[in-house]
Symmetry: C2
């Protein structure tokens, strides 16, 4: 027996999602067969309107429903500090504890030569443009502590220095995460933790 076309199509749509294999896609699709039609319609509507109703902020490149985004528009935010992150999800992660009061700049990627992504493919030049305007005193480079993230941070720091912009450049702290075990930490994390030690 062939899988019915209607079902097969949905399975294929699910399979395209990251981390969803053929078995999971089948399971999800057959699960949805038992879900009320109203819920399916709601899901479908959310999907088709996802991109139609969202825009990328022209200042910080964050995804939002308004432009400028709610963060850039908020007059209570500290406009002297810009935190540079790779993805919109990173902004949501940092916003969760509501400690950081500054603005963001989303690069929408990282410098990744193996995947043909150079500095011009991500929003670095618009960041430099923002820093040229007066009022920014610190830029926090919060790209991921991976090989590509570190390279991206280094590249941005170099560019800022080369352009002689008078702005403090900092890198987000790297070391042992809360709850970690020294015994199981990898070499480089331990090295970073030692380098990044602070006075008690």
């Amino acid at each position: 027996m062939q899988i019915p076309k209607t079902i097969q199509k949905l399975i294929e749509s699910f399979e395209k999602l990251p981390g969803v294999g053929p078995k999971t896609a089948q399971r999800l699709t057959f699960y949805l067969l038992h879900v009320p039609q109203t819920e399916l319609d709601e899901f479908a509507l959310s999907l088709s309107s996802l991109k139609k109703k969202t825009v990328i902020c022209s200042i910080c490149n964050m995804t939002d429903e308004v432009n400028p985004c709610t963060i850039c528009k908020n007059s209570l935010r500290d406009k002297t500090t810009i935190c540079v992150v790779e993805q919109p999800l990173d902004v949501l992660a940092l916003e969760k504890n509501q400690r950081f009061k500054g603005l963001y700049h989303v690069l929408h990627g990282k410098i990744d030569p193996l995947n043909n992504i150079g500095p011009d493919e991500i929003f670095i030049s618009s960041l430099l443009q923002r820093l040229k305007g007066k009022g920014v005193s610190e830029v926090i480079l919060a790209t991921n502590p991976t090989m590509e993230g570190e390279a991206t941070a280094m590249y941005i720091a170099k560019q800022i220095k080369a352009k002689d912009l008078r702005v403090k450049i900092t890198r987000i702290g790297r070391g042992l995460p809360v709850g970690a075990d020294l015994e199981y930490a990898d070499d480089i994390t331990l090295q970073r933790a030692m380098e990044g030690r602070s006075q008690y």
Copy 2:
């Protein structure tokens, strides 16, 4: 910053799927922001038409686009054997190797008293009805080898015997799966494997 409503809605739809937590739902949603609109529309269409374009076969309860389903309609299938399974996905699994040539009967569940599912909640009576008609010589009980699956199989076997239907009742083979290791098999599987031994 609050997550934009449009995005939050899609995240919530994903979260309702089995095995998808809040983090995965966020990841999938933000992944879809980079996907072409045509693909999103296709996904949405497949979702909303999933239930509209499928029916449950009035003979075997399999999900298909036609009624009776392609298996029940197929004149080449052996109508003397009926294989009883719990879910439509089980039919697809058995159909994959194209060895079994008989018909199916999908129960759409299993007897599960802890979740308030009794024999009347699943398609057992329609199975007995099918067996009353002439022409069926064997019924293969292929419910899962779990506690509930075994109980369901036992219940069906009892009902068939009680109704004095002249039909051979078999249970799908239970034992060690191909590639397994005796050393790591659990007690009950080993016991079943010994009981189900066959002559060489």
